[in-house]
Symmetry: C2
Subunit: 307 residues, 2 copies
């Protein structure tokens, strides 16, 4: 057995989610050597920041040397500085996590939108390996996403879940109408399940029934997939991607029940020759993508490739 | 009066459209010193190419020294080579206009999608001056467009007219459904005018009536504007642009009749803080944008900044 070089740098990735904070010790190949997870406190910003610090410190207390820290945050970030402007579903607004962590822990620190971080992970280590242009969509409760354009991660907003798919359609959590997020992810599945099964219905039951082959459930999930496919077709016409990757908890659980009708719809909407070459595939890193992506962001900071 | 330096380089821009070919002698500041226009021949590819050559040669026959040639073409171009893969509404497929022109005329030659060329012009010299991120939409018979991302023209497809705005909506010329192009430009205006005025109705009559204040016409144009705005909101959520510029013949003719309702819809769909900062403005170069853009593409070739 070959011994691992002791000095190979390790970093901490911090995946800040609306329901939980995941912190992991990650190597350059994206392996998660150790991870902790705790519920995101439903609290003030000060308490939330204290919980974040405590998560990192707990991992540091194992005694491993940590070379850098990377954050993935569901937030709009200020260009250039990485300052958190406003996070959805989190008590974070107008706060510089990078400067705070740099000062507190004395290592290079970087931050990225969580969708972009997951995209970086799937592109580098997952289903998007080797692609020059890639669209990533994470279907969870909502829809996140990211873009790789011409061989580079697009660092802008890329709120791909908030493109209009049905003008004047159902109201989205953001206040818009008919956005992809409200049509094709967990929220939509919960709504549809409620219609089919009453109060007991939720997205888990819907997928369970659909996987079991219940016709009404299969068709309902296929309708979500068709809306997803309309957006995938739009993105194909904008970027002509080598591959479109679908991840996220709901995306992973639904699998081909969503991907197959999405593929059909996307091929109809995509213009030639993007229609024939269209590749719509499942993410490979699953729930780990966000954490691994945060780790890769830390390595970018370590290598001086970004703020 | 200061004499113009005789040796300031001039280029030829070739704006290849579905209905006409425009060719112009253009200086580095984007001034069109001389221009010719002729109908696009509805002919074979060989005849079309001969007409293109003749247009350039006619301008060359004026005796001015030409340092480079740039093409703007309504076509998907092969990445890297610039080969025309397939043009919409034109008898051009699988042909390398750059290599042909370089061989024939012995100067640097470059090519760009016509939407990207117009975007380059508005960004450099028009309504997008000074912006780092810009979305451009040209409303003509169809809808073209382009993107400037983080201070660079995006060289990909950017078929912004073919994003889905109404899932399963009206059939688009490309075969898709409910695309922006079929909802918010000349084709849509013709359709609506037909409903309002019968056979005599077309987009010109519709805009004439709307400009004259006829309520039904104003509302019909506003509905096109609302669909435009839904897409503008989608792009705002994807790119958080400094400015969104609307050009094209129909866009220029409609002006605020379309832009005002579009602005309202876009602000509803855009997430904070993109909603408040949203700027949706008319193009400044009008019908010249495509030709000037082709000239700027020629200067890029001259300066060795691209293929």
């Amino acid at each position: 057995m070959v011994a691992r070089a002791v000095e190979a740098p390790l970093v901490i990735g911090v995946d800040v989610g609306g329901t939980k904070i995941r912190v992991g010790l990650i190597d350059r190949e994206g392996n998660v050597l150790e991870a902790r997870e705790e519920s995101s406190p439903d609290a003030s910003q000060a308490e939330f920041l204290a919980a974040l610090d405590a998560s990192v410190e707990e991992l540091l207390s194992t005694g491993r040397r940590v070379a850098a820290i990377g954050f993935g945050v569901p937030s709009n970030l200020e260009r250039g500085t990485g300052r958190v402007l406003r996070a959805t579903n989190l008590p974070l607004a107008d706060v510089d996590l990078v400067a705070r962590a740099r000062e507190r822990f004395g290592v290079p620190v970087a931050i990225e939108n969580d969708g972009n971080a997951a995209t970086l992970a799937e592109w580098t280590l997952g289903a998007g390996r080797g692609s020059q242009t890639m669209v990533m969509l994470t279907l969870g409760t909502g829809v996140g996403g990211g873009l790789v354009l011409d061989g580079k991660l697009y660092r802008g907003w890329a709120e791909l879940g908030h493109v209009v798919v049905q003008e004047n359609g159902p109201v989205c959590g953001c206040g818009g109408r008919g956005h992809l997020e409200v049509l094709a992810a967990g929220t939509a599945a919960d709504r549809v399940a409620g219609e089919l099964y009453g109060e007991a219905g939720d997205s888990h039951l819907l997928l369970e029934r659909a996987h079991a082959g219940e016709q009404a459930a299969v068709e309902a999930v296929a309708r979500l997939g068709a809306s997803l496919g309309a957006a995938v077709g739009s993105f194909a016409n904008m970027f002509d991607p080598d591959v479109t990757v679908v991840g996220g908890g709901f995306g992973a659980a639904a699998g081909e029940l969503v991907l197959s009708p999405a593929r059909e719809a996307a091929r109809r909407e995509a213009m030639p020759p993007a229609d024939e070459k269209l590749r719509l595939v499942a993410a490979e890193l699953g729930a780990e993508a966000g954490l691994v992506g945060a780790g890769l962001v830390a390595f970018e900071a370590l290598d001086g490739r970004r703020r």
